[in-house]
């Protein structure tokens, strides 16, 4: 497998031409997991939307392999990158399997009818993501956690090289959080899937990521391996946590220290 890189050069993102984060220089080898962490409102979703080509870059370039992302044709990009955003997917009268199958869109013909092969892939992916038991259920009637897993299946079904996930584990309970992330790791090992996602759970970011991007303020706060990021007092700084934050509650402070201390 060739070494495939996700690279940004002087990327500047924001809404309505107002820069939010400037001069982002990121590089990620194929098959690595990048987590974005940072306080609420730091621009995690904005960065993800920009990377996914859903939001026009204010400045700079994003490369997928050798190709400039903004120069790729929409249908080509669709076969390389899939997304799972916090934006709700509308699925009136669709069951879970129908929703997963929408991931096959870039591969179907003029009328979007699934081939035998497509059907097989859909079933396979549902197996992989452990949602075969809810395949016939109405998507609108399942829980948010189940929805999230169906959405992951949909994204994988698109057979991407890179997947962009915005807070994918938010609605999941601890078992499914771990399961969700282990599926990503499995995909990375088996298919060399590259993952870029935002995570709220620092302790999870620490154990699954190869690289971590910290956002706060106008420029990239820090970008590096989990070991680098979780060393010293950086996390407290990033989230503005001081000794007095919790009225000096020892248990809370111990929790913060715990996140930093555990070895990978």
């Amino acid at each position: 497998m060739e070494n495939y890189y996700f690279i940004t050069k002087k990327m500047c993102v924001g809404y309505d031409n107002k820069p939010l984060i400037k001069e982002m220089e990121l590089a990620l080898p194929k098959g690595e997991i990048l987590s974005i962490i940072g306080p609420n409102g730091a621009g995690k979703s904005t960065v993800l939307k920009s990377i996914a080509g859903q939001l026009r870059l204010i400045d700079g370039t994003v490369y997928l392999g050798e190709t400039v992302l903004s120069e790729m044709k929409a249908d080509e990009l669709a076969k390389k990158m899939s997304v799972l955003f916090t934006e709700k997917l509308r699925a009136e009268l669709k069951n879970c399997r129908d929703v997963v199958a929408t991931g096959r869109y870039p591969y179907t013909g003029w009328f979007g009818i699934l081939s035998k092969e497509d059907e097989l892939i859909v079933d396979e992916v549902m197996e992989l993501t452990h949602i075969t038991d809810i395949r016939e259920k109405d998507f609108d009637k399942i829980s948010d956690g189940q929805k999230q897993r169906v959405m992951l299946a949909r994204a994988i079904c698109q057979e991407p090289e890179i997947v962009i996930l915005d807070e994918p584990t938010s609605y999941l309970d601890i078992k499914y959080k771990l399961e969700f992330l282990s599926i990503l790791q499995e995909m990375r090992e088996k298919k060399g899937l590259t993952v870029i996602m935002s995570l709220h759970e620092l302790e999870l970011a620490k154990i699954v990521s190869d690289k971590i991007l910290c956002l706060k303020g106008e420029y990239v706060e820090r970008y590096g391996t989990p070991e680098e990021i979780f060393a010293s007092n950086f996390i407290e700084q990033l989230f503005d946590i001081t000794e007095s934050s919790f009225g000096g509650n020892e248990k809370f402070l111990a929790y913060i220290r715990g996140i930093k201390a555990t070895k990978k």
């Binding site: 859903q54 669709a78 934006e87 509308r90 699925a91 009268l93 003029w110």
Partner: protein, 336 residues
């Protein structure tokens, strides 16, 4: 595809097809002069029957029923496109003021041409209606950028509709012409007075639009998921939106040009059809909506002709009676 689903789709399409045929022939048979079915078959086969009956059939009943079939289908399809576009279950050409915009321009064109003694052609009517539809659509689109609330969007559409209707009324009142009666009837919505010439034009325009819409069914299905996901699977959203706007305007324009504004069909039929098929897949919904619209309008036109015969009701009177409850039902369901 699941076997149950396939069965459901086939049954639904069969029933819709039978419904269209049944009401089509009922429409041809029933009227001030009753024509028996065997006579229709004979007439269609080119055999000799009573002269009056032949005239009634060929000059009045058949073109009218054919027009209702085509325009009814187009109306439901226009409603379906607009509902998909705005992701709004109660959008339709009538509530969004698109029909009224088309009506306004057509009235202006008619009054101007008639006033100058020029014959109004179908093409001029459609063109006028299309311009009017696009003007209203433009307003609605401008509003939709400013307001994200779906009921407010409908309210603004209704307001645009009122403004356009007021202007139309004004024009009709001041147009001192013998054709005023015609104009008045038309502006209330009616399928009467269709000629084969009209039918030919609408058949060409609507069948071409239908094919174009049907070819969009794949991107439309992705569009239904939401913008972010549609874009992610490679849909060119801007191009798709432009096409939806143009095609729904052509359909609405064609209906208004020939039959005037007709209410509720555009909202009610796609919903009934969706419940019937239990899917939102455009590839099924597009043809099913067309057939559903045909059945609904053929049924309503039959009532419009017969309830108070020989006086004819305006078609919107009837479509509102059957369509408005559906809209209420949709809104109650939405609240749950």
């Amino acid at each position: 595809m699941h076997k149950n689903k396939k069965c459901r789709y086939i049954t639904a399409f069969l029933l819709l097809g039978i419904g269209v045929l049944f009401f089509y022939f009922l429409n041809v048979c029933i009227g001030s002069v009753r024509i028996v079915f065997p006579d229709i078959v004979r007439a269609l086969a080119g055999q000799e029957i009573n002269e009056t009956v032949t005239r009634i059939l060929w000059d009045i009943r058949l073109p009218r029923a054919t027009a209702v079939l085509i325009l009814g289908g187009a109306l439901a399809l226009a409603g379906y496109l607009l509902q998909t576009f705005f992701n709004n279950p109660i959008a339709g050409p009538f509530v969004l003021g698109i029909s009224s915009g088309a009506k306004m321009v057509v009235a202006l064109v008619m009054v101007f041409l008639m006033g100058n003694g020029i014959r109004v052609t179908s093409a001029a009517m459609i063109l006028g209606a299309f311009i009017g539809a696009m003007i209203s659509m433009g307003f609605v689109l401008l509003m939709s950028r400013r307001i994200n609330n779906m009921s407010m969007l409908v309210v603004s559409g209704v307001m645009i509709g009122y403004i356009c209707s007021a202007i139309t009324e004004l024009v009709v009142t001041f147009a001192n012409d013998a054709d005023i009666v015609n104009l008045h009837n038309w502006s209330r919505g009616s399928f009467s007075g269709m000629t084969w010439e009209n039918v030919k034009v609408m058949a060409v325009v609507i069948s071409m639009t239908f094919i174009a819409v049907f070819l969009m069914s794949k991107p439309l299905s992705a569009y239904q998921l939401g913008d972010a996901y549609a874009r992610n699977v490679g849909v060119n959203l801007r191009f798709l939106r432009v096409r939806i706007v143009i095609f729904s305007s052509i359909l609405s324009a064609c209906i208004v040009a020939f039959a005037g504004p007709i209410s509720f069909v555009g909202i009610a039929v796609p919903h009934l059809v969706k419940r019937f098929l239990r899917t939102t897949e455009p590839i099924l919904m597009i043809p099913a909506c067309f057939l559903g619209g045909s059945v609904f309008c053929l049924f309503c036109d039959l009532l419009a002709k017969t309830i108070l015969a020989p006086t004819e009701l305006s078609i919107s009177t009837v479509t509102a009676i059957f369509g408005a409850p559906v809209v209420l039902w949709i809104m109650i369901k939405k609240q749950k």
